[in-house]
């Protein structure tokens, strides 16, 4: 019998006219002895899934079975380690561990003893009376692990436990966790970890479950047979990483599909990825220097010193703008991308401006501004219109990204004190020119 089984789990937020599906029809089983890692872009619902599995949240529909029985309420056999550690800042290290034991009704004397043992095991002896704020990030997370282990969970859930740590602490802690796990020093039967760091997933997992977003769905379920301890330079490791990148980055589609539906049409419009425009330029410049202007995606995070998550968002944006093409885990600069990388600041803005005008969200927004009195529209109006396509938070994020991109392209201006979006003077002349060109062609 599997330890945990999800059947057709779906989570929907909001009420009918403005509904948003966070995760859709997820089927997943976790057996004893498995270390399963969920990877996916941000917003794919992996953290939501973790909360559903531990019983902190009830799914809209579908079933969660634990050892064959449906789960009601919080799962007493599972626990979570959080990205932000979630330690009580007013309790000492020891009290933070004890509190988990106390909640289970362990007598006080035994609590202290067990807590000290556990802290010993994670290497925090001597820090029992310290407050969390006196510890480094890595040590805080050790307290988080000790607290989770205190309740001897059968299923240990980890919500991006290493992503708030510096590189060295994270690496050390990963090794220590793997050692405890592979040597069977903890009574845990299975581990489920959520991460957006692909190397980390390949380094630790027995199985990688790849998710996609909009809506959150399982894209692939890979078994990783590499022996522990794994070397990041080994061929098998790199091949696996390449495969996961290939799955997540997908393949550049023909332009109409890539751009998505127009906002006035039914269907899901393409979301603008939340990226830093500076980093986008760095990526393109970096690619321009590579032989044949192409690279393996999995090598890039290290070379550019960014997270795999950020890289995937950048790739997404560059694809959308037609600066790169992606296929089989490889990324290649298009002639347009090359032109952008080699252009001056002003020329870059012009290229960027001409590219974003093709995006459905922008063509819709520009049309609206063009038609409006004085070419300006209150932010609230735009937001409300966007909310027919996106849930509230996403609509706000999309608008914010659109304003940032539009400002960079000198197409759109935004006045924060009056909360109005307007056409930039440069934008107006650019629009007039393109309208003229269209008319001439006819």
């Amino acid at each position: 019998m599997p330890l945990l089984e999800l059947r057709h789990v779906t989570q929907v937020y909001g009420t009918p006219p403005r509904q948003f599906t966070a995760i859709e029809d997820i089927n997943l089983t976790i057996s004893e002895g498995e270390f399963v890692v969920l990877v996916g872009p941000s917003g794919c619902g992996k953290s939501t899934l973790l909360r559903i599995i531990t019983g902190l949240q009830r799914p809209t529909s579908g079933e969660v079975l634990y050892r064959g029985a449906p789960l009601t309420g919080v799962n007493p056999h599972a626990t979570i380690v959080f990205q932000t550690f979630a330690l009580f800042p007013w309790l000492t290290v020891q009290e933070n561990v004890e509190v988990a034991l106390k909640a289970r009704g362990v007598p006080p004397r035994l609590c202290a003893q067990r807590a000290i043992e556990l802290l010993d095991r994670v290497g925090l002896d001597g820090f029992e009376n310290a407050y969390p704020r006196e510890l480094s990030g890595g040590m805080r997370q050790k307290v988080g692990f000790a607290r989770a282990m205190a309740v001897e969970p059968e299923l240990l859930c980890l919500d991006e436990p290493f992503s708030a740590l510096d590189v060295l602490s994270a690496e050390a802690l990963r090794g220590e966790l793997l050692e405890l796990w592979t040597r069977g020093q903890i009574p845990t039967r299975a581990i489920l970890m959520v991460t957006h760091n692909i190397e980390e997933a390949v380094f630790m997992a027995d199985r990688i479950v790849v998710m996609e977003k909009n809506p959150g769905r399982v894209l692939a379920d890979l078994r990783i047979e590499l022996p522990h301890p794994r070397s990041r330079k080994a061929r098998g490791f790199l091949e696996t990483a390449d495969r996961v990148y290939a799955l997540l980055a997908g393949q550049t589609q023909p332009e109409p599909i890539e751009l998505g539906a127009a906002l006035s049409e039914p269907g899901r419009p393409r979301t603008l990825p939340d990226i830093s425009l500076n980093k986008l330029a760095s990526l393109l410049e970096h690619l321009a220097e590579m032989p044949q202007a192409r690279a393996d995606l999995y090598r890039l995070p290290e070379e550019l010193a960014i997270s795999s998550d950020a890289l995937l968002s950048l790739t997404d944006a560059a694809e959308l703008l037609g600066f790169v093409t992606v296929a089989h885990g490889d990324i290649e600069l298009t002639p347009l991308g090359l032109a952008f990388a080699e252009a001056s600041i002003q020329a870059r803005k012009e290229i960027f401006s001409s590219r974003i005008r093709r995006l459905p969200l922008f063509s819709w927004l520009l049309e609206m501004l063009w038609a409006a009195e004085n070419h300006q529209v209150p932010r609230a109006v735009v937001l409300e219109a966007l909310e027919s396509k996106f849930h509230r938070e996403e609509a706000e994020r999309q608008l914010e990204i659109a304003v940032t991109w539009g400002r960079y392209a000198e197409l759109i201006a935004y006045d924060d004190s009056t909360q109005t979006i307007s056409l930039d003077p440069t934008g107006i002349s650019a629009l007039v020119q393109s309208e003229l060109a269209k008319a001439l062609q006819k």
């Binding site: 959080f82 979630a86 800042p89 909640a103 607290r147």
Partner: protein
């Protein structure tokens, strides 16, 4: 430094300016005042006051009485806070009513209720008990709202992961309160308690010295002592009384609030150690005291272990009853609970509608002439409040900036200003009044001075905090840019101070409106002086037993102040929060 600002910061919810909930709340208040006024018809027309002894030896006893009243009200406030705040934070439906109610109540000038509360209580209780109870209720109503608001906001802002940890590890309700909610709210509760105590003293002094015509509602206490000293023109007794009052306030500050703050520093959410943690000599002394440690080891710890064992056992039993059954129980109970809820709300609504109808009827008995007087009075009081606020701003901004920009001065003066802010201006009313009454137009000046005394400290305090919080690199930048003095004020200092000034001014204007009740109408033994103002209208209506006028004036004042808050202060506050806050 930033944290100090919390002290006098009123809670400002960010919902719409006016909603239907506010209307319901105003009707509830109108019905409450109306019920009070109905009761007031039965008040005996003559009430004997207590004998106030001016012997300095009586002072400790008076001090105990005064402190006792504030304590009783504070205990009541905490109890109310935990119940009301928790209900508002947990139940979405309750939140929709409870929050606007809280918001209106905290901006209502409480002192305008004093006559109504006193009269209605003395109609059903013996005069002494009524006065005691009225003073406690009044102090309670002055202390409770910001505490409740602080608790509610804390519950709403607990980080999600800490809540999830508590749920995932199966904390009991009690553990959640002890380990999560109370520590998280501790700092904010303590700062707000200090503010509440200051407010409490202000109203206690007013309540202890309240007399209307033949009815003497005075209470034996520090406030009554000071007033009696002024009435008998006894400078020695006056000095003793004021000395005792200030001594009590300083003692509380040093022996209770400072140590609590130093102790509560551990409850900061920040994950970094602060640069200058609050300190208290008394707390250090307690910590290093052998006696205290001995008491802790031999009494406190075994005691708490015992209670924990008790509570632990019962909570275990609760849990064993099972996760399974809880849900089905909830399903059955919900149906009957919902219909019961509907009946209760229905009855409440009917009662409210009836009360509103009767209150409306009573308001119709107020003549047009009297309405005119109320409107005129409101205008006059508004002018007075504005003048007092303007004067306070005129001196506190330069002084506050000077102190705040000099860290060494700030370190010495800030605690002093804090104490000054909590010395109740109402205690000095008799002295100021006596002094200015001889001058032509005296009561007008006296009223403004009294308002100023009650309001300036809040402002000064906030300005100091704001000036101290201006980032050093911005100050350097203005110097490097060779900005002139005026330019520097315009581009850096005033914008940086804006949120702090607004925060201070909101509290200050609330205090000024309150003060008008006792400042515009003064009785000294056989002399009565009053001036044009809504406070005077309320006091005179009480004296002459014109209860419809009392209802109309009190209600008008409440509505006016709420409207001013909503349409003036709230907007400025939002502007300040959105545009002038350093992140």
């Amino acid at each position: 430094m930033r944290k100090l600002v919390l002290l006098f910061k009123p809670g400002q919810p960010t919902h719409r300016l006016l909603s239907w909930g506010d209307l319901v709340v105003l009707v509830i208040i109108a019905v409450l005042i109306y019920s009070g006024v109905r009761l007031a018809f039965r008040t005996p027309s003559v009430i004997e006051g207590p004998q106030i002894s001016l012997a300095p030896t009586a002072l400790p006893w008076y001090a105990v009485l005064s402190v006792g009243r504030v304590f009783a009200a504070y205990g009541l406030s905490l109890l109310f806070t935990f119940l009301y705040g928790s209900a508002a934070a947990r139940n979405r439906r309750a939140e929709q009513i409870l929050l606007p109610l809280l918001d209106v109540l905290q901006s209502v000038p409480i002192l305008s209720f004093l006559p109504v509360v006193l009269l209605s209580f003395s109609a059903i209780l013996p005069a002494r008990a009524a006065a005691e109870l009225a003073s406690i209720v009044l102090i309670f109503t002055s202390q409770v709202w910001n505490l409740t608001f602080a608790w509610y906001q804390a519950l709403k802002t607990i980080p999600t992961e800490l809540c999830e940890v508590s749920t995932a590890f199966g904390f009991t309700r009690w553990m959640r309160f002890r380990v999560l909610e109370l520590p998280f709210a501790a700092l904010s509760l303590i700062w707000n308690s200090m503010m509440s105590w200051a407010g409490g003293w202000f109203f206690l002094m007013a309540a202890e010295t309240f007399t209307v015509g033949e009815r003497d509602f005075r209470l034996p206490g520090l406030g009554a002592y000071i007033q009696e000293a002024v009435a008998q023109a006894d400078p020695h007794a006056l000095a003793w009384g004021i000395g005792a009052l200030i001594a009590v306030i300083v003692l509380f500050d040093q022996l209770l609030w400072r140590p609590l703050l130093a102790w509560a520093d551990r409850f900061k959410m920040e994950m970094v150690t602060g640069e200058r943690p609050p300190r208290s000599w008394f707390y250090e002394a307690l910590r290093s005291s052998r006696l205290v440690r001995w008491l802790g080891e031999h009494w406190w710890r075994p005691g708490s272990a015992w209670t924990r064992l008790r509570l632990g056992r019962s909570s275990c039993r609760l849990r064993r009853q099972g996760v399974q059954s809880r849900r089905s129980l909830a399903g059955e109970g919900a149906q009957s609970r919902r219909s019961l809820g509907r009946i209760v709300w229905g009855l409440f609504g009917v009662g409210l509608a009836y009360g509103a109808y009767r209150a409306g009827e009573m308001l119709l008995r107020v003549s047009a002439e009297q309405w005119g007087m109320i409107v005129l009075g409101l205008g006059a009081t508004l002018v007075r409040v504005s003048v007092a606020l303007g004067m306070a701003l005129a001196w506190t901004i330069p002084a506050g900036v000077f102190i705040g920009m000099n860290p060494r001065w700030a370190a010495y003066l800030q605690p002093l200003v804090q104490i000054a802010a909590s010395v109740p201006a109402t205690a000095f009313f008799p002295i100021v009044a006596l002094f200015f009454l001889e001058v032509p137009g005296g009561l007008n000046i006296a009223a403004i001075v009294l308002m100023l005394m009650g309001t300036q400290w809040y402002l000064l305090f906030n300005v100091i905090a704001g000036a101290a919080a201006i980032p050093q690199d911005l100050k350097y930048t203005t110097v490097l840019l060779h900005l002139g003095r005026w330019e520097r004020w315009r581009t850096l200092i005033l914008p940086a101070l804006f949120p702090y000034i607004i925060t201070g001014a909101i509290t200050a204007s609330g205090g000024a409106w309150n003060a008008s009740i006792v400042a515009e109408y003064i009785e000294f033994g056989d002399r009565t002086v009053y001036t044009l103002g809504v406070g005077a209208v309320i006091a005179r209506a009480t004296t002459s037993g014109d209860y419809p006028l009392l209802l109309a004036a009190t209600l008008s004042m409440v509505v006016t102040v709420v409207l001013i808050n909503r349409f003036f202060w709230r907007r400025l506050y939002r502007l300040a929060e959105e545009h002038y806050r350093f992140e």
